[in-house]
């Protein structure tokens, strides 16, 4: 019982990581209807960018986040036309084609990363990595790691900014129109291609920053991609594909389930439980927890 607050906190912190893995990914699915298999590799590449930038400049990696975002947002923006080409035109089965295309990308990125970054694991050194807060109240006590707290704040900040962008700006209106109906959005004067490119750029940028954070909290390696891809998929499916507002709840749920299994139940069954619960929820509510997936 005395572990309950700690279990919740650990779960929430884990959930925060899942949010930032999944939120950009969900946005891209909602707007472009592409399941990006390379999400884990964008995260990995971003992480390494942060790692080398830090090694070069010795600037606190937290402060490097905007730079990483900017670089990768441009990369994503330039990449998008290629994906657009795969999805549009008169190709059969665009969803599948997008999936296979990005799967190919993920293999390439991973191979290139292994060539240039080697096989070893790394860690992004941050001043925040060291601190923690210890709270005690009656019989309860818990430790909150400052770097994880920073991760949580970052996750909430990104979620907030995306929410604002989508709901309160013209750009967001265009994005939402595009997500609703591509043809109608075109008629309304939304520049389909450019909006998609911006969205993809934002997504790649967010994923890259996420990589730096994961390098600070956990670790980095060239082969880490698929581990994160699978969780991005699961969170987004739980939330309902393309339903952005569902992402935090789904991510926290997943984090808390994991945390509770590790602390209270048999840790050996943690992943089995995660997959089984995901599976069951999909069966009961095929469009995610809230039934609002596309």
């Amino acid at each position: 019982m005395e572990l309950l607050p700690q279990a919740l906190v650990d779960g929430i912190m884990l959930g925060a990581i899942y949010i930032i893995i999944a939120i950009g990914f969900s946005l891209v699915y909602g707007v472009m209807h592409v399941i990006d298999f390379a999400v884990g590799e964008w995260i990995m590449l971003g992480g390494f960018a942060g790692f080398y930038l830090n090694e070069w400049t010795h600037v606190e990696p937290m402060l490097l986040l905007p730079a990483v975002f900017a670089v990768f947002a441009v990369v994503g923006y330039l990449f998008q036309p290629l994906i657009h080409r795969v999805l549009s035109g008169h190709r059969g089965n665009p969803l599948l084609m997008g999936l296979v295309f990005t799967f190919g990308l993920s293999l390439m990125f991973r191979g290139l990363a292994q060539t240039f970054f080697g096989f070893y694991s790394h860690s992004v050194p941050s001043r925040f990595s060291n601190g923690s807060f210890f709270l005690q109240e009656g019989g309860f006590s818990m430790t909150v790691s400052s770097v994880r707290l920073a991760g949580l704040l970052y996750a909430l900040l990104i979620t907030g900014i995306l929410h604002y962008l989508l709901k309160h700006t013209d750009f967001g209106l265009g994005v939402r129109a595009l997500a609703q109906n591509r043809d109608a959005a075109g008629l309304m004067g939304v520049n389909n291609k450019r909006t998609s490119a911006y969205v993809y750029g934002i997504y790649v940028g967010i994923s890259a920053m996420t990589g730096v954070l994961i390098g600070m909290i956990l670790s980095l390696s060239a082969k880490m991609g698929p581990d994160y891809t699978i969780f991005a998929f699961f969170v987004v499916v739980l939330a309902g594909m393309g339903y952005l507002a569902g992402v935090p709840a789904a991510a926290f749920l997943l984090g808390i389930i994991q945390s509770f299994f590790l602390i209270y139940l048999d840790p050996g069954y943690t992943l089995l439980a995660v997959f089984a619960i995901l599976y069951t929820i999909l069966l009961v509510s095929p469009r995610g927890l809230f039934g609002k997936g596309v």
Partner: protein, 412 residues
């Protein structure tokens, strides 16, 4: 449809090209099956460095001396792609296509177990310089040997060293990742702890690759003296960071292979310090040898010069595998290419090998649960001190006193 036929024919021709009769040659063909790509590529490349270094050293010395002549060695690599079935195919290719004389084996235990029946079938000896799972030796393969003792043999030694510290740890939380090697490590830790009178408060096998922070939170509440973990490189780094983040410093933190990897210290910096680990060899271990390298530091220096990465015991064990072959070949005076009858003799010779190398004593067991594993070594307990791997046990090998209990994270 005809196209498919053509494609099949082209493929057939492409593979048929390297077919050729075994010729007389004045060098040994050495096959290497290991994991050069895939999930286990990190370890596979460590074994590759060990094998490469051995071949380079042998050739620099003019080759293996047999009956007054020297025969050079040439390595033929085949990638197991971290996949047992691909490993079996790799072995079969090296044996039937390249006609290798003997084989240096894979990094992982799973691939080794799949390769073993193949070398058994073709009667080609194999020594793995890395695989540590006790399961391999229980199968009693005649043609498979290994230079690293099984992990249940080495894991226990570290616990014994810790039990000898004062004040001795009384309680422990032990867990391992759910893969062959890590699970065997954790189980070895557990049984040794029980034997040493350390109370195991919590023992869990956890899915590989997870963030274990919540589990560490649970451990923190139990406040054990010892936290012991069986896992692989990346998992170890994540684990130390987890402990750091929840601000829990046990009296001792014990892990196994991976602590000696340079990436561990590089990634964790001063947080890596004081972590205990198990090893069968270190760069500073006192060994004496007449073959290739005269002692550990010489080998370590040669390795550093060649690859710019410090050598660990897997790399050393891989080089030692080559030496074991070398010694056995010299004994039976086998010249390349080695016939099947001579290979059977080679097995007998390998079973008789008992030699001091830079890596320590190599002597393969010829019966029991460790059949054909190297039991000549004496397992070491190491600790990271000031970013360096230092032997702290057993007593007669210790280079420094164990730093114990651990300095709290925020006092470093």
């Amino acid at each position: 449809m005809k196209k498919a036929v053509w494609l099949a024919l082209i493929a057939a021709v492409a593979f048929a090209v390297p077919l050729r009769a075994a010729e007389k040659r004045d060098f040994f063909k050495v096959g290497v099956v290991t994991e050069l790509s895939g999930d286990l590529a990190t370890g596979g490349n460590v074994t590759k460095r060990g094998y490469d270094l051995w071949a380079e050293a042998v050739n620099k010395a003019g080759g293996i001396a047999i009956g007054g002549r020297k025969y050079k060695v040439k390595l033929y690599y085949s990638d197991a792609q971290s996949n047992p079935s691909q490993g079996a195919a790799a072995a079969e290719r090296l044996i039937t296509q390249e006609k290798v004389d003997f084989i240096l084996g894979p990094y992982s235990s799973g691939v080794t177990i799949a390769v073993a029946p193949v070398v058994e079938k073709y009667k080609v000896p194999m020594i793995t310089g890395s695989a540590e799972s006790p399961l391999i030796w229980k199968q009693k393969f005649l043609y498979t040997f290994g230079t690293i003792p099984p992990v249940n043999f080495t894991g226990a030694a570290a616990i014994q060293t810790l039990a000898g510290l004062s004040p001795a740890p009384k309680t422990a939380v032990i867990f391992g990742s759910n893969d062959t090697f890590s699970k065997a490590t954790a189980e070895a830790f557990e049984s040794a702890a029980k034997k040493a009178g350390i109370k195991v408060l919590k023992f869990n096998i956890v899915p590989a690759g997870q963030d274990l922070t919540p589990l560490m939170s649970a451990a923190k509440v139990l406040n054990p003296d010892l936290v012991a973990f069986g896992g692989h490189d990346e998992e170890l780094i994540k684990l130390v960071k987890s402990l750091r983040q929840i601000d829990f410093t046990p009296k001792a933190l014990l892990m196994h292979y991976g602590v000696t990897e340079p990436a561990f210290v590089e990634a964790l910096g001063k947080d890596a310090n004081q972590t205990f680990g198990g090893a069968v060899w270190t760069a500073s271990e006192k060994t004496k040898s007449k073959i290739l390298w005269k002692d550990s530091p010489t080998y370590a220096a040669a390795a550093m010069k060649a690859f710019h990465v410090p050598a660990d015991y897997t790399q050393a064990g891989s080089s030692a595998a080559g030496i074991a072959f070398q010694v056995a070949l010299e004994k039976i005076k086998a010249t390349p290419p080695i016939s099947e009858a001579k290979r059977a003799e080679l097995i007998k010779a390998l079973e008789g090998v008992d030699v001091e190398t830079f890596y320590g004593r190599v002597k393969f067991a010829t019966e029991g649960d460790y059949y054909h594993a190297n039991v000549g070594l004496n397992p070491l307990t190491i600790q990271i001190q000031g970013g360096k791997v230092v032997v702290v046990g057993p007593k007669r090998d210790a280079e420094a006193k164990a730093q114990y209990p651990m300095t709290p994270w925020d006092k470093r």
